[in-house]
């Protein structure tokens, strides 16, 4: 399982193995301030990254971002 969450420290505390930092509490996978096309690309990035993390070894200490990691 990969969890996309805008409060990733809670996921790390509990021991989730694949943590992907979300965008914002009210919009974990998207960004309402972006124009439609740009937001769509962002949502694609989140899903793509989530699938990448499912294909990678788990590590409950690391908080990943769409670019890399914290």
């Amino acid at each position: 399982m990969v969890q996309i969450t805008p409060v990733p420290t809670v996921a790390r505390m509990v021991g989730v193995g694949r943590i992907l930092r979300g965008k914002s509490v009210t919009s974990p996978c998207g960004d309402p301030t972006l124009p439609v096309e740009a937001e769509n690309m962002l949502i694609h990035k989140y899903v793509k990254r989530a699938l990448e993390l499912l294909a990678s070894p788990a590590d409950s200490e690391i908080i990943y971002t769409i670019e890399g990691r914290e």
Binding site: P6, V7, T9
Partner: protein, 431 residues
């Protein structure tokens, strides 16, 4: 800056043709108050009632609770940004009334929930508003006025009335005078062996914003994008910072008597040196959250030169995580911290309610489990701020109405019980 609050204790409140104080009784010209409120054309009409201890009344749709305060000097601004112009708060003489509150209700609220309070029945044992005189206002929306605009008008109306009432004390000898005299420079002249203690004040969290619009609670403006900043403690006590547009265990009156600020002032120069206040907001975006924690801790360390810091949170779950991050960054810089938490559930262990887990955060004080449910038996004779059909919030999908003789409410929505500024004599324990 020096703030001098001159307080008059009120023993009775009565309607009269003029607003004045005589021998501890506040006489109120209600029509005059109405005129003041109606000068805002966003409000078409307003109900104003005065309730005294013992009245069997339930006040619903509460937006705010305010202690009457008014500036004496013309240059100073009352509730800047709402009543007076935006000018720095916290300097000069203020008249204040004890034992009277203005309770601002919004009978036309569209929000999912509002606070209420009871002056009779079960809840009256626990809320301070059952023991005080309450001047309650319920403004009605004018046509073609938007929801958010009207909410601002209602909030403002409460402050307008609070000022008008306190002005009655202008020429009265006060019963008590309290002076808040603090300057950053002077903190370095205090006994250097005293630890320098600062306060981090988490003011707000935008996660609950109605329709995504933030509440104006900082000089009458929205602050969801506020970077952490230093404020003078008097600005907090004097209306620069006020309650939110929904009452959640926090009204303006609690901020006017801010628990932590009062405590730090009372011990300044005795067992600690109160070295200043940094305030910030909780962030929805984790990047901004990390940035805020870094900046706030830097302000505390490099600019307030704090040895230790006391941190308090606002209502909500994510604010725990947010506050803990600030505290952790402080500890990493060598500032010892203690912070508040608010268990969100009433079963299980206290540890299980924690939303953060860091060995360095070993000094935690519990504000209370503010979502604990209270079963209230009360059949009010009067309902103000709404009707018997007005919704009383229940997180479970069962409706409750203000006229029901038994309701179950989470305590944070009963005005006058809990206090996120640290002023309540409450804790939560495992039983």
């Amino acid at each position: 800056m020096k703030l001098q609050i001159e307080t008059t204790n009120i023993k009775d409140v009565r309607k009269d043709e003029k607003t004045y104080i005589n021998n501890g009784t506040l006489f109120v010209n209600v029509d005059n108050l109405k005129q003041l409120v109606l000068s805002d054309d966003r409000i078409s009409s307003v109900d104003i009632e005065i309730f005294k201890p013992g009245d069997q009344v339930r006040i619903v749709n509460i937006m705010d609770t305010v202690q009457p305060r008014a500036c004496v000097e013309k240059e100073e601004s009352d509730f800047p940004g709402f009543v007076g112009p935006i000018k720095r708060a916290g300097n000069g003489v203020r008249k204040s009334l004890n034992n009277v509150y203005v309770i601002t209700t919004n009978p036309e609220t569209q929000r999912h929930y509002s606070a209420f309070t009871d002056m009779g029945g079960t809840a009256s044992k626990f809320t301070k508003f059952a023991k005080s005189f309450n001047v309650c206002i319920a403004p009605h929306q004018a046509e073609n006025v938007g929801e958010t605009d009207f909410e601002f008008a209602v909030k403002r109306a409460g402050f307008v009335v609070a000022v008008a009432l306190a002005e009655a004390a202008k020429d009265i000898e006060p019963d008590a005078i309290k002076v808040y005299d603090w300057s950053f420079e002077e903190t370095f002249k205090i006994d250097p062996s005293l630890p320098r203690v600062a306060y981090y004040y988490q003011l707000y969290s935008p996660q609950h914003d109605n329709k995504g619009i933030s509440d104006p609670c900082f000089y009458g403006t929205q602050i969801n994008y506020l970077l952490p900043t230093i404020v003078h403690p008097n600005e907090i006590l004097d209306g620069g910072i006020v309650g939110h547009t929904t009452y959640r265990a926090l009204g303006t009156d609690a901020i006017q008597n801010h628990g932590v600020i009062e405590e730090l002032y009372s011990r300044h120069g005795k067992d600690l040196c109160f070295c200043g206040v940094v305030c910030g907001v909780a962030n929805l975006d984790p990047i901004q959250r990390n940035r805020k924690a870094m900046m706030a801790s830097s302000l505390l360390k490099d600019f307030l030169c704090a040895d230790g810091a006391v941190l308090t949170k606002i209502h909500g779950g994510m604010p725990h995580v947010d506050l803990a991050l600030v505290a952790e960054e402080c500890e990493k810089l060598g500032i010892k911290t203690t912070l508040t938490v608010q268990p969100l559930v009433s079963t299980g262990t206290l540890s299980a309610t924690a939303l953060f887990s860091s060995d360095i955060l070993d000094a935690i004080v519990i504000v209370g489990a503010t979502q604990e449910k209270l079963t209230i038996n009360f059949k009010p004779q009067i309902i103000f701020g709404g009707t018997a059909d007005s919704k009383i919030f229940n997180p479970d999908p069962f409706p409750q109405r203000a006229g029901d003789s038994i309701i179950v409410s989470e305590e944070f929505l009963i005005a006058g019980i809990h206090d996120h500024t640290g002023g309540a004599f409450i804790s939560a324990k495992e039983y």
